[in-house]
């Protein structure tokens, strides 16, 4: 375990209609840790992740990433984070290489950029497809490319928003392998609907319901705390209690 890389205090998001999506939550993420944010649909997982990734403006609270304050150092924070959105968000008419290159250009980088792209493409097993147009990639390949774009600049924190959604078991397994590799260099914050994935990958996690944290800890601790067999049961319980 490493030291602290993300510190979130009383983070709140209220949308314009007065809908409180995230209600004063606080948590911490350590370096080289996979941190999961779980919860039923509409619980606020993606909203939290998008605020951390500087996509969405918090209504209140503070976020500190690698010692940088969200409100003052946003631009520097952006250089230190990677974001894998739920949708692949790629340019279909550009090749694999070009998709990486267009985003990589945004980051300052002292080394050889071509070598870096080559290294990352090999890491995500897309080197042979580097000249393939993205529109011709399979779902799993597109997701791996999406991850490659997010990590091309060697970020300290990577945010994954339901990264394995819609993938077949083989593709999911490949992504899991990638996440484990990436953890060696970066902290990872991920949301997921797959509880087996959370159990496999997450060192720590929070469970969100209606914008508030109802559990925080290691997967096994949370499962025991809810007297459940696994995280799946925990989420079902949380969802039912939410409905009541």
């Amino acid at each position: 375990m490493g030291d602290l890389i993300i510190k979130v205090d009383n983070l709140t998001k209220v949308f314009s209609a007065g809908n409180v999506a995230v209600n004063s939550i606080s948590f911490e993420v350590l370096r080289h840790q996979v941190f999961g944010i779980l919860g039923p649909n509409g619980s606020g997982k993606t909203t939290i992740l998008r605020m951390l990734a500087t996509v969405l403006e918090p209504s209140n609270g503070s976020i500190v990433i690698d010692g940088l304050d969200y409100t003052r150092d946003q631009q520097t924070i952006r250089s230190n984070i990677g974001y894998v959105p739920q949708r692949d968000a790629l340019y279909p008419n550009l090749t694999v290489w070009e998709n990486i290159d267009v985003f990589f250009t945004a980051y300052p980088y002292n080394g050889d950029r071509k070598n870096r792209i080559e290294k990352i493409l090999k890491k995500v097993d897309l080197w042979d497809s580097r000249n393939t147009f993205v529109r011709r990639l399979s779902g799993g390949m597109a997701k791996r490319l999406s991850i490659a774009i997010a990590v091309i600049h060697d970020p300290k924190v990577i945010f994954f928003d339901e990264v394995t959604m819609g993938l077949d078991p083989v593709a999911r397994s490949n992504i899991w392998g990638l996440v484990k590799k990436l953890k060696e260099h970066s902290a990872i914050v991920m949301t997921t609907h797959y509880m087996d994935e959370a159990e496999q990958l997450c060192d720590n996690l929070i469970i969100i319901s209606e914008g508030s944290i109802i559990a925080n800890g290691k997967p096994k601790e949370i499962t025991q705390g809810f007297k459940a067999k696994n995280l799946h049961e925990v989420i079902v319980k949380v969802a039912r209690e939410g409905d009541v």
């Binding site: 500087t54 996509v55 952006r78 984070i81 974001y83 968000a89 550009l94 980051y107």
Partner: protein, 420 residues
Amino acid sequence: MYKVALYELKKLLRDSRWMIIFAIQPVILVVFLGLVALHEPENILVGVYNRNDNEYSSQLVKSIKDKSGLDVSEFGSEQYLRDEINGDKLKLAVIVDIEKGKYIDGQIEIIDNSTVPEVSAKGVEAILDAFDDKSADFIKENIQTNIDSYIKNQEIAFYSDSEKSLEILGTTITSLGLPEAVTSQLQQAVSEVKPNFELTSTDNLDISRLNLVKTKNTNKDIRYFDFYASAVIVLLTILIALKLADTAITEERTVGTFERFFVTPYRKYHMILGKMIAYTVLDLFLATTILLSMILLFDVSFGPYWLVFLIAFISATVAASLGILISCSTYTIAESIQASNLVFFSFLILTGFLFQPESMHPVIKIISGFLPFTYLINAMREINLLNMGFGDVWQKLLFASCFIPIFLFGASLLLRRKAT
């Protein structure tokens, strides 16, 4: 920014279906416009009454009747002819009243316009009821040609101080007590179809007698289509360039790349200027295509090609920056398309292409005076129709070009990097 622009271009050009539509639409639109506008009117209903039946007037009537494109009927009663034109059954009523020797005695030298009324107290009265520009133009061209020809045949020559102020005499166009607004419209119609002529009336605003005085050194080869071609070039480039750029940002929002783009250290101006550079390159192609289509397919009479191209290119670039502004201020593709439609058709109405400035509400006229596209259309017309040069239009071009940074700055202000 260079990479953003480069990849933006690649994205667009690699979409083969998009590329085909983009490349052929200016050609198709020019072809349609050309075929619609270049075709001469047919069977325009003209009535003729020969008030003073003699050898000379009969010759003139015969020459009018022989003119192709006109469906000419000779009337035995002047009143009947006037009733027919008043009842909208004719486009033109011509009353011929000419006698050799009575008005015309060899050569008459016109010293100034004050002598005109005496000379043309009689002659040919043409009552024009063709308020669509094209028919009016056609009628006037044909009737005047006949009258000019007749005068020449009778060895009647009117001299003036120079070629530039040649008086076309013996021709009067009567408004027949039409309301002032219609009279004004008629005046406008004449000036529109004969842009190289200045319409004057010897009796102040009474246009019972009109003299068409050639006042400017004009391009003599222009045709009806040439006049509209100038505005068409500008409007086509605006339309295509605007529609090209109006979803530039909203498409990124829809696909999700917008969000990914702004999680990186890229700033708003990278996206806006990157796209603008890409569209500027496409605008070069667009301006070239439209210009070449006009010249090669319809032999449109233009001023200096480089200047016409420059105006078309500026038009496209201003429109592209406006498209980006629209795209930055909207959130979905549907919104962008609706907004750009609204903007384009507002410009179309306000620039004076469809409706003459004289008929505009004063406030609208002022607004029209601030629109970049009004200046671009006027500059294009001056270049093509009045043989003006860069020195005459550079201020208009500069004014219009100033809107490019204004629109882009506005786009930067309106582009919301974050969702709220």
